[in-house]
Subunit: 190 residues, 2 copies
């Protein structure tokens, strides 16, 4: 059963949306990706409304099983963090209103899941997202790649694998995870 | 012409809503006040949805001319500030969706407007709100009084007074403001 996850990298200027379909064998396919947002010269209420109407449109259009949002921390980027938190609140509420499950993942969890290294830089995340989704070109800007990475992370971490497999999978690279899943599959058939 | 302002002191656990009708002579009357919210044990998406449905209900029921929200700063109360920012984003979006003007005021502006002292404590704000609105008992909890103080602040700062009067009024105590307004009125009649 394919899991469709809409990943959101929240922000007022650039809010990344990425929809990924993930099969039980962890194969992930891009369904849609975009970046929405407004300039800092736009009044806050209009900036938030742009995020709200955009996420509502995407939730209705792509009907994801789960919304995966980056967990925002107050210690990071103090100048923009309040707007980022406000945008994330709007996005989370839109999913809750539709009864769609909401999951939060930290940047470290996302980096670890897609690159195997929780300290990976943005370029490494983009590169792995491009590879995992078998894309011809890298998603741009980085917010788009981050949204896709969030969606992949959620599907891989919360996959249909057993709790024991899942616990082990958390420290594996994507390639190792695919291999582990293939092994598990082989065992089940055997 | 009476200005109806819905003041919101944002928060997930206690979100204060206060509706105040303010006449051109700055006389302010309580229309409604409440505190909504959920415990920290409730999932974030359900907490935000509670705030969203509550503010939507109040906007539709009380039809304010303006929504006045406390401006959230990231340096204050780090442990709860992200939830507060998320709640404020949801509230602001609900007003923007209805075409209702949104105004942000800092805690210092609110304290200065209602008590004449930007460093006033919560007890002083509650006491002045009780007096300004001619209430028999103080609004409780403090979040309710803060929401009303925000509404009063907005109406008094952004009143129909001329820009010159308004600029002067910003440094006056409420009593002085009422007196200044009465003087201006007498001048207009004379």
């Amino acid at each position: 059963m394919t899991l469709r996850v809409l990943g959101v990298d929240p922000g007022l200027t650039r809010c990344g949306f990425g929809v990924v379909d993930v099969e039980p064998n962890r194969r992930a396919t891009l369904a849609a990706v975009t970046v929405v947002g407004t300039g800092a010269d736009v009044p806050l209420e209009q900036r938030l409304l742009t995020i709200a109407t955009s996420i509502e449109d995407w939730l209705d259009r792509y009907q994801p099983d789960v919304l995966a949002v980056e967990r925002v921390f107050s210690q990071l980027n103090v100048s923009t963090v309040m707007g980022t938190a406000q945008a994330s609140g709007v996005v989370i509420t839109a999913a809750a209103r539709r009864g769609i499950t909401v999951a939060l993942h930290t940047p470290t969890e996302v980096k670890a899941a897609v690159t195997g290294n929780g300290q990976a830089d943005k370029a490494a995340v983009t590169k792995m997202v491009t590879r995992i989704l078998r894309l011809d070109a890298s998603p741009r800007p980085a917010d788009a790649a981050d949204a896709l990475a969030l969606a992949i992370t959620h599907a891989w971490r919360g996959s249909a694998a057993s709790p024991r497999q899942e616990a082990g999978a958390r420290s594996l690279t994507p390639a190792q995870q695919i291999w582990a899943e293939a092994q598990a599959k082989a065992r089940r058939k055997g």
